[in-house]
Amino acid sequence: MTERPEAWDTALCLAEQARDGDTAARDQLHDAVQRLCGDPELLSYRDPGQTVAHLTGLLDDLGEPEIAQSLLRQCVSRLTAKGTDGGSPRAALNHIAVALAERGQLPAAQRVSSTAATLGRPSSRADFTDLTITFANLAAVELGLDDPETAARSAERAAGFLRMSPVDGRPEALLELRLRVVSLLTAAARARNDHAKADAHLDDLGDIARALVAELGAEHPKSLSALVTLALAECESATAAGDRERSERAVDVLLIAAQKAAAFAGRRHPLAVSALASLAAAEGLVAAGSGDGERLTRARALMAARVRAESRPAVRHAAVPAPRTFSLLGPVRARRDDRTVALASDRERLLLAKLLLNAGRVVPTDELMRAAWGDDFQVSPLRLLLFHMARLQRDLGPDVLVNEPSGYLIRLTPGSLDLHEARELVERSRRAQGSEQARELLNQALALWTGDPLAGLPGPYAREQRALLRAWHVDLVEARLELDLELGRDHDELITELADRVAGNPQSQRLLELLLATLDREAASDEAPDRYAGARRVLADALGVAPSASLRDLARRIHEEETP
């Protein structure tokens, strides 16, 4: 079979209708994608990669990242097991890897590209072109993952396969691929601080761009695209080498290229969007290098304009500001107008978490980068930061996520963040001073936890904040159990819950103290000495500490009561 199965057309059609505001199509879309995933002929046609990338892009636009993810998983698994019908599974995997990388899922894109790289030896000359793209994709992803050494090796392999690619056919296609590979070699050299090598590659890039102009003419969109690639690479290299004059010249050229692309093709055309993104990245780099806050704000505005241009005009938010709610006490989530906002990657979740934990305060750009990338990046992730922030701004609204000269500020309405709501409830509970109402308020606060705080987020910032929020959760549980004990909750129930919690958190001396006190009150203190002895062993083994003075006192008192 070489025709695309109908299930694809159905899913694509529904996704496009949903994107244009058709709610009925949106309701049917989930089932359509599920049916598609179960279709045995899912990938039984030539070159399914482009369709996969198209549909996942639409699902992303619709705020359905989970469905997109499930589709991608299914496709990768089928491709590696069965291949496609007549087409190259490597080419299809290449498309999927690009789709994943564009969604910010770099580790997944890396896995898919690695799979494509090991699909067997090339059997035709066209395979060398596919392999070139595979290793170029790998190099791009590895650069994004701050691994320039591996990226350099992948880019070199791409260059090697490119030399074996067929030279017949469309010369401009080969020139475009050369442009991409050499720009990756340039970026990898720059990331390794090998400026001499980066400069040599830049000369090659210039020659390739000139060859494209000679082949296609200066007014061809691909010539303009080559100019954008060259100018951005030049700006990045010049900034890394501290050459301000070269950087500014490249920014000037990028501004002209961006205006030209939008003037000829319209500002929503992918070429214009890409040129605008490159300009924003270059402005951001130069501004960061010079510490020019006003210019950095302009760079952010440009990136926001790029994201706005990328959005289809049909996707419009309601005229009335939609309510937005945020969660940190579990997986990091944002909802707008009762729909989950698609957060494309852990980086975006980390950035949102950092902003939410500092809501109402301007978070400087470098703090955001540290939260999302840690301290060990070799190349400044400013460009990626601007991209993610612009996406977040598009999804949350510029009234909520605000550009400031020194960073970003998130403005929340009361009750829109679960953490703030929990704090408010805890404060009201404290004011209610040991009453039944105080216990109820604490229970309401604890009910806001939907899982482990900042669940699944990697990196030192997330770990640190998670530890703080977990500790606070334990404090609240203990406070509520104390109230349970004071207010006379059914002791059997209380002992059961305490025993469970002690088992789950054996190092908490306060929980054990509460358990022993409850057992004591319940006249079940015959269990207490055993519990105490067990806890003492746990504390010694796990923490190397002795029971606290209050716990020792309580145990001693129980023991004395038992032996008159």
């Binding site: 830049l202 000369d203 890039l205 210039g206 020659d207 761009a209 000139r210 102009v213 200066a218 007014e219 010539s223 303009l224 080559a226 100019l227 060259l230 100018a231 030049e234 010249r249 490249a250 000037d252 050229v253 501004l255 002209i256 290229a257 961006a258 205006q259 030209k260 939008a262 003037a263 000829f264 093709a265 319209g266 500002r267 214009a272 605008l276 006003e294 210019r295 302009r298 505005a301 304009a305 706005r308 241009a309 005009p313 419009r316 510029p398």
Partner: protein, 267 residues
């Protein structure tokens, strides 16, 4: 967010010439007739919308399309933000942020369409036909000003669509102007100046390797001649002379060098 202001007033010897607008930090686009007969390389004063003044020189003129380019002095490049360009939408709203004086009205109206237009100077250009809401009779003071697209939503930013160059005469009375204006599209204006040519811009970003040599490798007695040859390339790059003239001058210089080597005159 405030829309960027990027229009300028051009002056010469204290006299206002007309309007124009920033295409980027370096170049101002205007209608040639606003410059009132000034020649290439003539200096003009550029008054930015915030009142600051910078110097510029007329670096390109296109008489057929009635367009001119003014280059801002290298040490005075401005940092004002410039809106993104776009293609006009037929039936969409437009407005002109530039007005000759603060007591004049701002122009606005509808984009009737984009079509080829035969300019008074003889060029056929891609142009916007614009109807104006304001019946002023004479719109000439607005020439050289930008035409902006009005965004559909309040949060959207305006886009740069074209440059006002002409007004259409009233069909019933050709001595009077109709409220239909002609603007060259931004794409058309940019395509008329080689400063915005992709091939040229590639050389600006990364000069060809042959031109990157900092020191002449030729014997010392040819060093001056070689500098002169490179200088011709540089002038051609900067648009001071056209590439054909540069090639001719280089050939002439080499011819004289050979003459000198063989006992002729100086270079």
């Amino acid at each position: 967010m405030t829309a960027p202001e990027y229009w300028v007033d051009l002056h010469r010897a204290g006299q206002r010439l007309g309007g124009g607008f920033l295409l980027n930090r370096t170049f101002v686009l205007t209608a040639l007739h606003c410059l009132r007969g000034l020649a290439l390389e003539d200096q003009v004063d550029i008054e930015l919308c915030d009142g600051e003044r910078v110097e510029g020189r007329i670096c390109r003129q296109d008489e057929k399309a009635d367009l001119a380019l003014v280059e801002i002095s290298a040490d005075q490049r401005v940092g004002l933000p410039v809106p993104a360009a776009d293609r006009a939408r037929d039936g969409g709203r437009w407005r002109g942020p530039y007005r000759p004086t603060t007591t004049d009205v701002h122009l606005s109206g509808l984009v009737s369409g984009t079509a080829h237009h035969l300019c008074v100077g003889g060029a056929t250009i891609e142009a916007l036909q614009l109807t104006a809401d304001q019946h002023l009779g004479d719109y000439s003071g607005y020439s050289g000003g930008p035409v902006e697209g009005v965004p559909d939503d309040r949060a959207g930013m305006p886009t740069m669509l074209g440059i006002l160059i002409e007004q259409t005469p009233d069909r019933a009375d050709p001595t009077r102007a109709a409220n239909v204006l002609i603007a060259a599209t931004i794409g058309e204006a940019m395509s008329r100046f080689d400063q915005f040519d992709v091939g040229h811009l590639i050389d600006v970003v990364r000069p060809p390797r042959s031109r990157q040599r900092k020191e002449p490798t030729a014997p010392a007695r040819y060093a001056d001649a070689e500098k002169l040859l490179l200088q011709f390339d540089d002038w051609a790059d900067r648009g001071l002379i056209d590439p054909v003239s540069a090639a001719e001058m280089k050939a002439e210089a080499v011819r004289r060098l050979i003459d000198r080597e063989l006992g002729g005159g100086d270079v």
